[in-house]
Symmetry: C2
Subunit: 457 residues, 2 copies
């Protein structure tokens, strides 16, 4: 499915663009100003919007319009969609709410009429009741919220505001997205269509779904299965419990269904299930690393307690933290102090420097009993150890990572770790701040290696 | 047990204080400089340390010494402890590592000899193999790490570096501690002693333990039970799995024991068990609120998806998200728009303003079917809604909280929420950023209300 007219439109019309700062049409048009394609504000009451000539109607625009963003009161939507068809618009995003998600039969019906109209005239719809769409690569922000950081995760959210919350959070946490799609009521395009498009999208390394419920489970599962064979698809399911699933129906007009049924369908389709937003983001960021050949994790740390917490988390998630090979232990003993621990986790104690990380990592990269490596650093500031040393040690060791084993890094020192994290992230090594996050990342690598059949154990 | 000589010493000697920036004794003495009591650097090779006259030996100090911080090589510790006894030192913190946590029988024995010496001369010991202690209220930082923010949580950590990592993290997250104690090998003072002291400490509202293993389980359980009746005690247990529990023994010289046995002992003693650091901190911060009378949570939100995720989390933790009373629903309908949801979670939709939060909260405060309230806000920035309005609405409603119900706030908008969070935190309303954290807080309030017998349901 080619949805490029949504993400790389040559021209965009914003129906309901406004100079009134209290209107969504103002925020949307303002956000679109930096897009390089043609932009047309459409508003019968304005002569110009934010300095651009405004058009009373779509039909008044001289050139072609690929994409329409619609933010007018709900009673006008049907007519606007009809006009979109007449103008030859290919895709329309309906921001306006108040349709299938209400308890009002009249407006539930109106949503169906809008879709029928769109199908008749060949316009594909996203929404209604959504926040809009983004393509960070093209600098396209067709929403009324702040633009996400650029990155490699494609994020599709059934909930608009929650999607917005996740974008705001990731701006601070320096996590980036390739595309963001707020699906809303999914009156026309739904998860299936987006999965099909995004699984072939070169800009997206992983796909992240916030999903409350789908209408056609079989079709969804089949598209999920296909997409999962191309790239990891991570799913956060909202509406698992009783009250939450009731809330879903009044939120996006979907039926959330039994969580048991969803879970087994998601698993069988090869999706990775995340229990929280942070877990999902942690998983998604892991895939800059190669897939592992098994589930045996080697941990090196400069703080025993941190190694203990990571090992606990990994074992709770079904991964293994086995003993190292005799050869590894022999090697570690040549440079680590006598009261380091040569078990796994390898506790190099607080005096460990960058060179120790490098040598320990090299030993574990060669060790056939280890498939995934987690390098932990806690407060590497005292005793004259510079803050970036660990990161440089890991980076240097990775230059010789001929085994292509995945390496993840955990830093538990707040702002003290910022520079070290930057160094590693630049080298493509995902860094985390919490034992549960780095463990979720390791779990995701292992689970997805099974989906792709790279496990040889 | 009175340990005030550790936390409010009139005078402190630092054995091993140094001008050499690569030594722990340098960092420790530097950190102690801002303490108002007397400070004496002790180092046979220095004339002065950081501008203060240095003493070759403890005995050379003219005045009394309440507390000694010891950071000299391990072979000198026994002798230094003997000198402490001769000098009349009341408490000593041994930073130096390399004793019971090693595999070396000689140094395991040395630790026992040190304790015997201390007992003989009436000196109580913290450590060895620890980071030190802090009392933020007294501006006492007797560690080699950055000082924690001041606050109401007493934090006792068996792991030094992990404790340090948590302090560094909370500096960034603006979470404060009353006291911090890195227990290390617990050769003398252990969790039991600290629990006894901290449960009577007026500066500490809650106690947080990072625990790997204790030697005398029965004594520990009994002190935990007593402390829990005075204030909430939250426990993170490290070393649950096989490999992790092996790591524990080489880390702080303890036996981590079976997690099943620990869990049941912790529960029976009234402790609150946290599965992660963030969960523990979320729980600890909840207790600025009154205890609930039951487990029925009412959720108000401006974003459906966020309400759904909170409800899922609460239900997974054994809390309830019941329907509201007819009276509440009637009241909500007088001011919320028609396509809001009047179930629980109450989805006030994105147009909700501060006044809506205030009125919805007032309805739920009166509602007899609700024991705990969670107010959720996601991206309250668009459509002209100011960033702080929600917080002010909640604050205003709380001024009339005659029912004394606990109220927790969740903001899912990254830096956009900073100001609103500050307003609420200042009013004593704990604010969170993740559905799982606010839900853990609600769960902690409910669990602890059972321990204290305030549940009436």
């Amino acid at each position: 499915m080619n949805l490029n007219y949504f993400f790389y439109p040559r021209s965009i019309a914003v129906i309901g663009a406004s100079n009134d700062q209290s209107k969504l049409g103002y925020e949307i048009y303002k956000n679109l100003k930096s897009y390089s394609g043609k932009k047309y504000p459409v508003n019968i009451r304005e002569k110009e919007v934010l300095g651009d000539r405004a058009y009373a109607r779509l039909a008044d625009i001289e050139g072609e319009v690929d994409l329409a963003i619609i933010a007018v009161p709900r009673e006008h939507i049907l007519n606007v969609v009809k006009e979109c068809g007449e103008k030859g618009v290919k895709g329309a995003v309906i921001i306006t709410a108040g349709f299938g998600e209400t308890n009002d039969e009249r407006w539930k019906r109106a949503e169906i009429e809008i879709v029928n109209e769109a199908r008749k005239s060949g316009v594909r719809l996203i929404g209604p009741n959504c926040v809009g769409i983004m393509n960070t690569k093209a600098n396209l922000n067709a929403t009324f919220i702040m633009e996400a950081r650029p990155g490699k995760i494609a994020f599709v959210s059934q909930s608009g505001a929650l999607g917005a919350g996740i974008i705001y959070k990731t701006i601070r946490e320096n996590i980036g997205f390739s595309k963001f799609i707020s699906l809303g009521n999914m009156a026309d395009l739904d998860f299936t269509d987006l999965l099909e498009y995004l699984s072939d999208d070169q800009e997206s390394e992983t796909i992240l779904l916030y999903l409350e419920g789908v209408k056609d489970g079989r079709r969804f599962a089949s598209s999920l299965k296909k997409a999962s064979l191309k790239k990891p698809v991570i799913v956060i399911k909202g509406g698992k419990g009783r009250s939450a699933s009731e809330a879903v129906s009044s939120h996006t007009g979907s039926v959330s269904g039994s969580w048991e049924i969803y879970r087994s369908a998601l698993r069988q389709s090869g999706a990775l299930i995340a229990e929280s937003i942070d877990e999902a983001l942690s998983m998604a960021r892991a895939f800059s690393q190669p897939l592992p050949r098994g589930k045996r994790v080697g941990i090196i740390t400069n703080a025993g307690g941190a190694g203990v917490l990571v090992a606990d988390q990994l074992e709770a998630r079904g991964l293994e933290v086995p003993r190292l090979s005799e050869q590894s232990i022999k090697e570690l003993k040549t440079f680590l102090p006598p009261y380091a621990s040569f078990r796994n986790p390898v506790d190099m104690i607080a005096s460990a420097r960058g060179e120790d990380y490098k040598m320990a990592l090299e030993a574990l990269l060669k060790d056939d009993s280890i498939d995934i490596i987690v390098a932990v650093s806690v407060v590497p500031t005292f005793a004259g150890i510079s803050r970036e040393e660990h990161a440089l040690g890991v980076t240097n060791a990775l230059r010789k990572n001929m085994e292509r084993k995945p390496v993840l890094a955990l830093f538990m020192a707040g702002d003290v770790s910022t520079r070290a994290r930057e160094i590693l992230e630049k080298e493509g090594v995902p860094t985390y701040e919490r034992p549960e996050d780095v463990s979720a990342a390791a779990q995701a690598l292992y689970e997805y290696s099974k989906v792709r059949g790279t496990v040889i154990q």
